[in-house]
């Protein structure tokens, strides 16, 4: 019993947007789909919702065929809720009118409206307000309440937090995630924000250029990205040339380190990926030596430019807390330690010896 996509493809004109996307979402679980803008993730959501028809492939819900290249069940007959990026609240209707929009008129209607408002942490005072009288976060929660009200089998969220500013965003996300897990509805979230994707779901799917490139539990995907690109997309990553040894260890600029996952597929030259959070810098000896070339304050941290080896070597940026920065003046030689193992990927001709990706 699940939502099932099999080989879903779609093009606009000659432009392919989705290429044979397949996955299952188990009932009551949450799936986050993450991808850069233009990766086709919104189109995927719109195909599931019924606003677009796939060019090939099938969408099934509990074994009922929802859409294929030749047939389609109209959006309003699918029982799939949808929350758009901007909420799409009807401006001419009050909160009550919006939330009650999809509920048939009956005695139970008002009760259901209050129920989903409570679920989404909306105060009952809002009932008679109009969308323009609400904050962005409140609007999104009303939109979710509205989508939940008809008790859909699946809820689709299309970047519902991206229009909110940072503070509101975390708060709204927490409230909505709580509401969704309480209601137990199957949920698919589409986002370009890795943090959001990693923290939202039971499952994570990564989509790039219209293809589903990796899916699995978020921790697994983050721990073992299927490719260097995915690794980089999911968060800051460092790549250094490495030599793999037979005993699941690799030698690189940071020394002889354990290999967590070898995804190099036997390539002759490989590189090791590690996360900046695995690095620690000390002034004692024992680690890899590096020189502090410059220091720049950034918020509550200081970004140190560390250079390894001679002038021909490589450098990387490392963040240390502000209160520790005095230990690493410019020109000082420091010692860099690595915790945990590395993931090995094949070396590509174009890649730099080391990439620092503090921000995506």
């Amino acid at each position: 019993m699940s939502l099932q996509l099999t080989g879903v493809s779609k093009s606009f004109g000659s432009q392919p947007v989705l290429d044979r996307v397949s996955f299952d979402v188990e009932r009551g679980t949450r799936l986050a789909i993450v991808g850069a803008s233009g990766s086709g993730k919104s189109t995927l959501l719109r195909i599931i919702a019924g606003f677009e028809q796939p060019g090939a492939g099938e969408v099934r819900l509990d074994d009922r065929l929802l859409a294929s290249a030749t047939t389609t069940i109209s959006a309003h007959r699918r029982g799939i809720g949808y929350v758009a990026q901007d909420g799409a609240l009807f401006p001419h209707l009050s909160v009550r009118g919006n939330i009650g929009f999809g509920i048939p008129r009956s005695a139970a209607r008002e009760g259901r409206i209050r129920e989903v408002m409570e679920l989404t942490s909306l105060d009952a005072d809002f009932l008679d307000r109009y969308p323009h009288q609400l904050s962005g976060g409140q609007q999104q929660r009303v939109a979710l309440a509205r989508a939940l009200a008809p008790d859909p089998k699946v809820i689709l969220l299309d970047e519902p937090f991206s229009a909110l500013d940072t503070g509101l965003r975390a708060h709204t996300r927490a409230a909505m995630t709580r509401a969704l897990s309480q209601s137990g509805v199957t949920t698919i979230l589409v986002t370009h924000d890795q943090e959001e994707a990693l923290s939202f779901g039971d499952q994570l799917a990564v989509i790039a250029e219209g293809r589903l490139v990796q899916a699995g539990r978020p921790a697994e995907v983050f721990d073992a990205p299927a490719s260097a690109e995915i690794a980089e997309f999911l968060g800051a990553a460092l790549f250094v040339p490495a030599h793999a040894n037979a005993d699941a260890r690799a030698v690189c600029a940071f020394g002889d380190l354990p290999v967590r996952h070898d995804l190099s597929a036997g390539a002759r030259s490989v590189r090791a990926m590690l996360r900046p959070s695995q690095l620690s810098v000390g002034d004692n000896a024992g680690g890899t030596a590096a020189t502090v070339e410059s220091a720049r304050q950034s918020g509550s941290a200081v970004e140190l430019e560390l250079r390894f080896g001679s002038a021909a070597g490589f450098s990387l940026t490392h963040r240390v807390p502000l209160y520790e920065a005095h230990r690493f003046p410019v020109g000082r030689t420091v010692s860099v330690h690595v915790d945990g193992g590395v993931v090995l990927y094949p070396e590509t001709a174009a890649s730099d010896p080391v990439r620092s990706a503090l921000a995506p």
């Binding site: 606009f12 060019g55 389609t72 109209s74 959006a75 309003h76 809720g81 799409a88 009807f90």
Partner: protein, 511 residues
């Protein structure tokens, strides 16, 4: 069911078929002009066109447009700037006074002037009355543009050391170019199409001459030949406007801003400016209304009798015209707003070209078309309504299109995802949101239709008497007293639509 894999940008076929059919119908008058020119043959056409009389008409008509449009633009832009960007005293009052001439049909204003000062006539009289009647067509868009302008630009110019005048000339005026061109185009087309106002003033233009030719020979060759020349004049005006506009497009003015724009101190000039505006208001509003009022005192009870019936007929015809115009405007507005592209531009272009033709040509075309092709439609309400649609369609199109563009597609999708059928989604979400725009478009068409004279005279069923034709019958027989109740009714019928237009412009800032 068509395959749903089609390109997202392509409008639905059914909708395009509707729009193309309507556009084809809208081009009937253009077809009539072309057909008339060819049917006559070069020789006859040349005989009718290349003669001194046509030269006189051409001189009059061209002078009217060449002098009238700049006057209207100066009055309209100047007025808008004064009330919106200066410390003019009582500017709220003047903002309303300046738009009020729109409530007085040009031929009523002309009647007011002609009955007050009979010696007003010819080009001078025509220019006076027409400029005063039509400058609000520039004033309103100029006001809207000024309200939509970012005051930061003006503030920056001030900080660069420009004074109020320099800011106006070098910053504001260039940004009002679209409003001036658009308003000027509308004024030019109105000047070319006006009949009643000039007939009172014994000022002969192509339009008045076509009516005379029609009276002398029905829809005969002379009327058609003059119509060909007039249609060409209209196209020349369209082409000039398009060339002057260049690559600029009439897009929606930005959402405006909460910040008030800086106002220019009028200082010691204030009394003179107020004086000038009072003279303008007197000439454009007070003189016509005072004369209507004066003649109202001279009317007897019998003059009021036919008014109720005429008002009823006017309401039926203009509401019918407004509804029909919405029906025609909706498909093309939908395509233009939701599926912008070449199809949309071509269709819209066809509508605008078709609607630039004066009412008299539309009327001649429909008389000829119905008599020859669909005799069952001859002299029917349906034909009058069709003429109203052809003449006033742009008014509906602009409103409806802006309305559709303001409704995100996401609303319907959201509704469908809530289990509501597409039809009900349109009914429960799109329709209520579109209603204000539909109402605005309908009001503008109804206003035009209620004041329409020539097409109504030529096309209406036997026995029809609208307020405008009733006014015309009485006033052209110089029975000024009997005409006065009709004039008053025309003004009163116009007030709601003009108030609505004004409110829309005023609402810009609060959005």
């Amino acid at each position: 069911m068509p395959a749903g894999v089609a390109d997202r940008k392509r409008p639905p076929v059914g909708l395009v078929v509707f729009a193309v059919l309507f556009a084809a119908a809208a081009l009937i008058p253009v077809g009539y002009v072309i057909q008339a020119a060819f049917a006559m043959g070069w020789q006859q056409l040349a005989d009718l066109v290349f003669r001194p009389r046509v030269g006189e008409l051409l001189t009059n008509t061209v002078l009217l447009v060449v002098l009238g449009v700049p006057c209207a633009v100066v009055l309209g832009v100047g007025g808008a700037w004064l009330v919106e960007r200066t410390t003019l005293p009582a500017r709220r009052l003047f903002a309303v006074l300046l738009v009020m001439p729109l409530t007085i049909p040009a031929f009523v204003a002309s009647y007011g002037w002609a009955s007050a000062i009979p010696s007003i006539n010819g080009l001078g009289g025509g220019l006076l009355v027409a400029t005063l009647a039509y400058y609000p067509l520039v004033y309103l868009p100029a006001l809207a543009s000024l309200r939509g302008l970012d005051p930061a630009l003006e503030e920056s110019a001030r900080s660069l050391g420009m004074n109020g005048w320099q800011v106006f000339l070098r910053v504001i005026l260039p940004q009002l170019r679209l409003a001036m061109l658009g308003g000027g185009l509308v004024v030019a087309l109105h000047l070319l199409a006006e009949y009643g106002a000039f007939a009172f003033l014994r000022f002969e233009t192509f339009t008045t001459a076509i009516v005379v030719a029609y009276q002398a020979g029905f829809a005969g060759p002379n009327a058609a030949a003059l119509g060909v020349v007039l249609a060409m004049l209209c196209f020349v005006v369209l082409v000039i406007e398009a060339a002057a506009r260049g690559r600029l497009r009439y897009s929606r003015v930005g959402s405006g801003t909460q910040l008030p724009a800086p106002r220019v101190e009028l200082g010691r000039a204030a009394p003179f400016v107020v004086g000038a505006l009072l003279v303008l208001a007197t000439a454009a509003v007070a003189v016509p209304l005072a004369n209507v009022g004066r003649w109202l005192f001279a009317t007897d009870a019998a003059d009021w009798q036919p008014l109720l019936n005429a008002t009823w007929q006017t309401v039926v015809l203009s509401v019918g015209g407004a509804v029909a115009a919405l029906v025609v405007a909706l498909p093309i507005a939908w395509i233009a707003a939701r599926y912008p592209g070449r199809t949309a531009r071509t269709l819209e272009g066809a509508y605008y070209v078709a609607s630039s033709l004066p009412a008299i040509i539309v009327a001649l075309a429909l008389v000829t078309f119905t008599l020859r092709v669909v005799p069952a439609m001859y002299q029917t309400v349906a034909t009058v309504i069709a003429a109203y649609v052809l003449i006033f369609l742009p008014r509906a199109l602009v409103s409806v299109r802006a309305g559709v563009a303001q409704i995100p597609e996401g609303f319907e999708e959201a509704a469908r995802s809530l289990g509501v059928s597409p039809f009900m989604a349109k009914l429960r979400v799109t329709a209520p949101l579109l209603l204000p725009s539909l109402a605005a478009g309908a009001a503008l068409v109804a206003l035009g239709a209620a004041n329409e004279l020539t097409a109504t005279l030529l096309l209406a069923p036997t026995g029809t008497r609208t307020v405008a034709t009733g006014f015309w019958a009485a006033a052209s027989a110089i029975d000024y007293a009997a005409a006065a109740p009709y004039a008053l009714t025309l003004v009163l019928l116009s007030v709601p639509a003009v108030a609505l237009m004004f409110a829309q412009v005023k609402a810009r800032r609060s959005r």
